[in-house]
C-alpha cells in the first residue's frame, strides 16, 4: 500500500472542508489534501437547491450549489489538491488516514487531520416508530437527494414528521413538484425550524402544522397506505384517545441530524454525548493530538455561513499547530446549566477564549446569559428571544479568564 506524508489531510470536501482548505492555503500552508467520497466537491450543498445561504457572509441569498461553488472555484483556481471518489476507511490516533478509491488503497501519514465529515439523519428505526415496514418512508435528506439530484419522485400524498428546516423545505419542494403535502407534525410544542420557513414553506401552501403530535403507527404492507397520528403530553407520550388516521403514501422524516463520527471513533477521538460530535478546545483540536473537527461533524449548524467561519478559525489553529508543534493547553472546562444543551468548544484556554457557540434547550424570551468563573462575572449578554433551532454565538473577551478554573455558563429568564 502506497504511503504518503502530508501536512494536512481534510476529510470531507463540503463547506467546512473547503473553507478550511482555502484559509490554510491563504496562510501559506500548501501541503494540503482534501479527500471527498463523492464525484464532486460541495458536500450536502449540492442537493440544497433552495436559497438562503450566504446572507451573512456574502450579503446575498445564494442557493446551496452556488454557495459551494464560491469555494470550489477558488480551490480549483488555486489548484489546491483534492481527490474525489475517495472514501476514508479509517483514521488512526497517530493520524494515519487510510483511503480507498478506484486508483487503489493509500495510507496518508498526516501531521494534522481536519475531520469535516458532516452529519447523517436520524432514522425511523432509531425512533422505534411501531407498525409495518412498507416502502414510502424517507428521511428528508434522502427525499431531497432523490428529487433534486436523481430526478426520482418519491410519492403523491405526503406527510412530514418533524418541523425542522429540512422538513419544512421539503414540504415546499414536494408541493412545488406536484405532490400533495397533507400536514406537518411536530412532537414539540413549538416549531423546530425558523419562522421564515414556516411562513414560506407551510403558510404559503396552506399546509397545516400540528404541534405536540407524532406518528404512532405505520400502515401498509408493500407501499405506505397511511399513518396514525396522536397528540402527545408534556412527557412526549401519546395521549390515548387522540389517535387519528391519515391516508398517505409517503412519510418524510425530519427528526434530527447526528454528526457523523465513525471515523473520529476509529481515531479514539472522545465525543461529547450532548452534541454527538468531538469534544474540542478553543483551537478546535480534539482529544487526539493534531486531529481537529469542524462543521456539522462537530455540531449541527443552522447556517452554512457559520460553518465556513468556524472552519477558517480552525485552519488558523492548524497552522499554528504545524508551526509550533503543539497548541497551548485548554484546561478550563465549560459547565452549562439545564437551559443550555451544549457549548462548542467545551474547553478553553485562559488567553485564547474566543467564540463560544451554544444552543438553548427550549424557547426562551428575555434571557440573560452569564459566564462566571469562580464567582466572578466574566461576560453577560441578553437575548430578546432564543430558540433551540438557532445556534447562538458569544465572543468572550481575551485574557479575562485569569485562572484555570471551570467556567459556568447559565441562561435565565
Amino acid at each position: 500500500m502506497k504511503t504518503i506524508n502530508k501536512d494536512v489531510i481534510i476529510v470531507g470536501g463540503g463547506p467546512a472542508g473547503l473553507a478550511a482548505a482555502l484559509e490554510l492555503y491563504k496562510q501559506g500552508i500548501k501541503d494540503i489534501l482534501i479527500l471527498e467520497r463523492e464525484t464532486e466537491l460541495g458536500g450536502i450543498l449540492k442537493q440544497c437547491i433552495h436559497d438562503g445561504f450566504g446572507l451573512t457572509r456574502f450579503k446575498e441569498s445564494y442557493t446551496g450549489p452556488e454557495y459551494a461553488e464560491k469555494f470550489i472555484e477558488k480551490v480549483k483556481l488555486l489548484k489546491i489538491p483534492y481527490r474525489t471518489g475517495s472514501m476514508v476507511l479509517s483514521v488512526s490516533d497517530e493520524r494515519e488516514v487510510k483511503v480507498a478509491s478506484r486508483e487503489g488503497l493509500v495510507l496518508y501519514r498526516a501531521k494534522t487531520v481536519i475531520m469535516a465529515m458532516g452529519c447523517r439523519e436520524k432514522t425511523r428505526g432509531a425512533l422505534a416508530i411501531p407498525g409495518e415496514r412498507p416502502a414510502g418512508i424517507y428521511t428528508a435528506g434522502v427525499a431531497q437527494a432523490y428529487i433534486n439530484l436523481h430526478n426520482k419522485m418519491i410519492g403523491k400524498n405526503v406527510i412530514v414528521l418533524g418541523s425542522g428546516d429540512i422538513g419544512l423545505i421539503m414540504a415546499r419542494r414536494l408541493t412545488l413538484e406536484g405532490a400533495n403535502v397533507v400536514a406537518v407534525f411536530e412532537i414539540q410544542p413549538y416549531p423546530s425550524g425558523l419562522n421564515r420557513n414556516i411562513e414560506q414553506c407551510l403558510n404559503d401552501y396552506n399546509i397545516p402544522l400540528y404541534l405536540s403530535h407524532t406518528v404512532t403507527n405505520i400502515h401498509g404492507k408493500s407501499r405506505l397506505k397511511g399513518v396514525t397520528v396522536s397528540k402527545v403530553d408534556n412527557e412526549f407520550q401519546p395521549i390515548k384517545g387522540t389517535e387519528k388516521y391519515y391516508e398517505t403514501d409517503t412519510l418524510v422524516l425530519s427528526v434530527g441530524l447526528i454528526p457523523e463520527n465513525e471515523l473520529s471513533l476509529s481515531a479514539s477521538v472522545k465525543l461529547d454525548l450532548r452534541t454527538n460530535g468531538a469534544l474540542v478546545d478553543t483551537y478546535f483540536q480534539t482529544s487526539v493530538e493534531g486531529i481537529f473537527s469542524v462543521g456539522n461533524a462537530l455540531h449541527v449548524h443552522d447556517l452554512v455561513d457559520f460553518v465556513s467561519l468556524e472552519a477558517e478559525k480552525a485552519a488558523l489553529s492548524v497552522k499554528r499547530y504545524l508551526e509550533q508543534g503543539q497548541l497551548p493547553e485548554c484546561d478550563i472546562v465549560i459547565k452549562t446549566d439545564e437551559n443550555i444543551i451544549y457549548t462548542v468548544p467545551q474547553r478553553l484556554n485562559k488567553h485564547d477564549a474566543g467564540d463560544l457557540s451554544f444552543r438553548v434547550r427550549k424557547p426562551m424570551k428575555n434571557a440573560l446569559l452569564k459566564v462566571v468563573q469562580s464567582g466572578r462575572l466574566i461576560y453577560e449578554e441578553s437575548f430578546k428571544t432564543i430558540v433551540p433551532a438557532e445556534m447562538k454565538k458569544i465572543k468572550l473577551p481575551r485574557n479575562v479568564l485569569e485562572i484555570s478554573e471551570a467556567v459556568e455558563v447559565s441562561l435565565e429568564c
Binding site: T123, P130, A135, A145, I147, I154, S222, E260
Partner: protein, 479 residues
C-alpha cells in the same frame, strides 16, 4: 413438464431444491414473493439450535440435532456466515435448575453433544454481562445469517439446474388420473409429477389445493428489537432464560453482523401478513430481557422486526411436531405442515428426509455434474489491506465504496444486482451485501443503489421495488 415443483422458496424449500438437484430431475421452485427468504426464513432469531428443547423421537428433535452437528460443514460448503458461539440457558431458582437438568437429559437422548451445567462463577466468567445463578451451556449452538443461508441454498440449487420462479403465487392445483399435477399461478401454468408443499404460512392453503384437508395451524408472531453493534461486544453468544412449554422466552442474541436482537415474544395472531411491531410489545420485550442482560437502552435501538410461524397446535394448545408426509391416496405429493422453529437448523436434514421419501417411489439417478459448493460475494470490508489493494487493482469497482457504514464496494453491489436468481429489489441487494444495514440505514447509499439497479437491469423508475410486489419506491420522474 417438471419432475418436481416445490412451492415456497424459503430455507426449507430451497434446501429441498438443492438436495433434489443431486439427482437427474427437472426441478422448479415457485415463490410468490420477489426474492427468497421473505417470510419466516428471514424473520427469526437466526440461531442454529442444539436440539435439546424438543421431545425425544420427534421430527423436530431428530432434524434439529442432525442439522446442528452438520452445520459447520454446510456453512463452509456454501460460504454461509456462521459462528459456533455456543449458547446458554440461564436460571435462578431450584425449579429452573431441575428443568435444566431435565433438558440436558433430553438433549442427551436426542443426540445433542456437549451439554453441561455452569455454576455462577463459570457463568460470570463466560458472560460477565449476564444476570443469573447458573446456566446450561450448549457448545455447538451458533448464529447464522439466515438470508445468505437461504440465498446460498437457492443459488447452489440454481447452479445445479433448478429453475426459480418469483412473483408467482399458486392459485390452484389439479391432478389427473395418472397423478400428474397442473399448477396454476398468478402468471403461468406448470405441469409436474411431484409437488412439494413448502409454503410455510400458507401450507394449509396449499395442502387443501392438493386435496389434503383437515390440518389447522395457528400463527405465532414474534417481535424483535435490534440494538446497535456498539453493544454487540457485550454479548458473545445467545442467552436465553429457562423456557416454558409453549415458547422459548425473551432471548438476547448476537447477530452475525455484530448487532444484538432482543426477542421474540410469542403471540397468537389472525393476520399472517401483518409484520408490524407495536410499541407495547417493544416495551415488554425490553422490560423482560433487561432482567437477564441489562444493556438494553432505547438510544441503542436501530430497528425492529417481526416473524410469524405456522404452528400446528392441537386442541389442548400444545405445539405439535413437524408433519412431513406422503400418502398413496395423494400420490406424488410431499406435504409439509407446521414447519416452524427450529426449521433454520433442520432445513437440510428435512430436505434429505424428503428426498428419502421420494426415493422410495422413484428410481433416482445421481446427477454427476452436481457441485455442492457455492461461493458468495467477497466482502471487501473483511479483507486485510493487502487483499483490498489487490482487489482494487484487478477491479477498480472495489475501490469505489458505495455503502459507507458497512464499507460495501461498487463491485459487490454490481455482483449482487447480477445475482444468479435474477432478484433486483432494494432488499435483495441489502441482504446480499449488507449495504443499507448500517447506522444510517441507507441514508447515504440507497440513492446510488437505486440508480445502479435502474441502469444495470434497464428498469424504468416506476419499476424499482423496495422488497415486496407493489412496493414501488417512486411514482415517476420529477421532470
Amino acid at each position: 413438464m417438471y419432475d418436481v415443483i416445490i412451492i415456497g422458496a424459503g430455507v426449507v424449500g430451497s434446501a429441498i431444491a438443492r438436495e433434489l438437484s443431486r439427482y437427474q430431475l427437472k426441478i422448479g421452485v415457485l415463490e410468490k414473493n420477489l426474492d427468497v427468504c421473505n417470510e419466516g426464513s428471514g424473520r427469526n432469531s437466526a440461531v442454529i439450535h442444539g436440539g435439546f428443547a424438543y421431545d425425544p423421537g420427534s421430527n423436530k428433535a431428530k432434524f434439529c440435532v442432525e442439522g446442528c452437528l452438520g452445520f459447520k460443514e454446510l456453512a463452509e460448503e456454501l460460504d454461509i456466515p456462521f459462528r459456533q458461539t455456543g449458547k446458554v440457558l440461564v436460571g435462578n431458582t431450584e425449579e429452573d435448575y431441575q428443568h435444566l437438568l431435565k433438558t440436558i437429559e433430553t438433549g442427551r437422548v436426542n443426540g445433542s453433544i456437549g451439554l453441561r451445567m455452569l455454576d455462577k462463577e463459570e457463568l460470570a466468567n463466560m458472560l460477565p454481562s449476564v444476570i443469573g445463578e447458573f446456566a446450561m451451556y450448549s457448545p455447538l449452538s451458533g448464529i447464522v445469517d439466515p438470508f445468505i443461508y437461504t440465498i446460498a441454498l437457492a443459488e447452489n440449487a440454481t447452479t445445479n439446474g433448478v429453475d426459480y420462479f418469483f412473483n408467482q403465487e399458486v392459485t390452484s392445483i389439479s391432478r389427473n388420473s395418472a397423478h400428474m399435477h397442473t399448477i396454476q399461478t398468478t402468471k403461468e401454468v406448470f405441469e409436474t409429477k411431484w409437488v412439494i408443499n413448502c409454503a410455510g404460512l400458507n401450507c394449509v392453503a396449499i395442502s387443501e389445493m392438493l386435496g389434503i384437508a383437515g390440518y389447522e395451524i395457528g400463527f405465532t408472531k414474534g417481535d424483535y428489537i435490534v440494538l446497535d453493534n456498539k453493544v454487540g461486544s457485550l454479548l458473545p453468544m445467545p442467552v436465553y432464560p429457562v423456557p416454558s412449554r409453549t415458547y422459548m422466552g425473551i432471548h438476547v442474541t448476537p447477530t452475525i453482523d455484530g448487532n444484538v436482537t432482543v426477542g421474540p415474544n410469542a403471540n397468537n395472531v389472525e393476520d399472517k401478513s401483518n409484520y408490524g411491531v407495536s410499541k407495547i410489545h417493544m416495551d415488554q420485550l425490553a422490560e423482560d430481557a433487561i432482567t437477564l442482560w441489562p444493556h438494553i437502552h432505547k438510544k441503542d435501538y436501530i430497528r425492529n422486526y417481526a416473524g410469524i410461524q405456522p404452528t400446528w397446535i392441537d386442541k389442548e394448545g400444545l405445539i405439535k411436531d413437524y408433519v412431513i408426509e406422503v400418502n398413496d391416496k395423494y400420490a406424488n405429493v410431499v406435504n409439509l405442515i407446521g414447519i416452524e422453529s427450529p426449521a433454520l437448523t433442520s432445513a437440510v436434514p428435512i430436505a434429505r428426509h424428503v428426498v428419502g421419501l421420494i426415493s422410495e417411489k422413484e428410481d433416482l439417478k445421481k446427477n454427476l455434474e452436481f457441485n455442492p459448493s457455492r461461493k458468495g460475494i467477497v466482502k471487501f470490508s473483511d479483507q486485510p489491506d493487502t487483499v483490498k489493494a489487490s482487489l482494487i487493482e484487478k477491479n477498480p469497482d472495489y475501490g469505489e465504496i458505495v455503502c459507507r457504514c458497512e464499507m460495501v464496494s461498487k463491485a459487490e453491489i454490481l455482483e449482487a444486482i447480477h445475482n444468479p436468481l435474477g432478484v433486483d429489489t432494494m432488499l435483495g441487494i441489502k441482504y446480499r451485501t449488507r449495504a443499507m444495514m448500517g447506522r444510517c440505514q441507507g441514508g447515504y447509499c440507497q440513492m446510488k443503489i437505486a440508480a445502479m439497479i435502474e441502469e444495470e437491469k434497464d428498469k424504468h423508475v416506476t419499476e424499482l421495488m423496495h422488497g415486496r410486489q407493489n412496493s414501488n419506491l417512486f411514482t415517476g420522474k420529477v421532470k
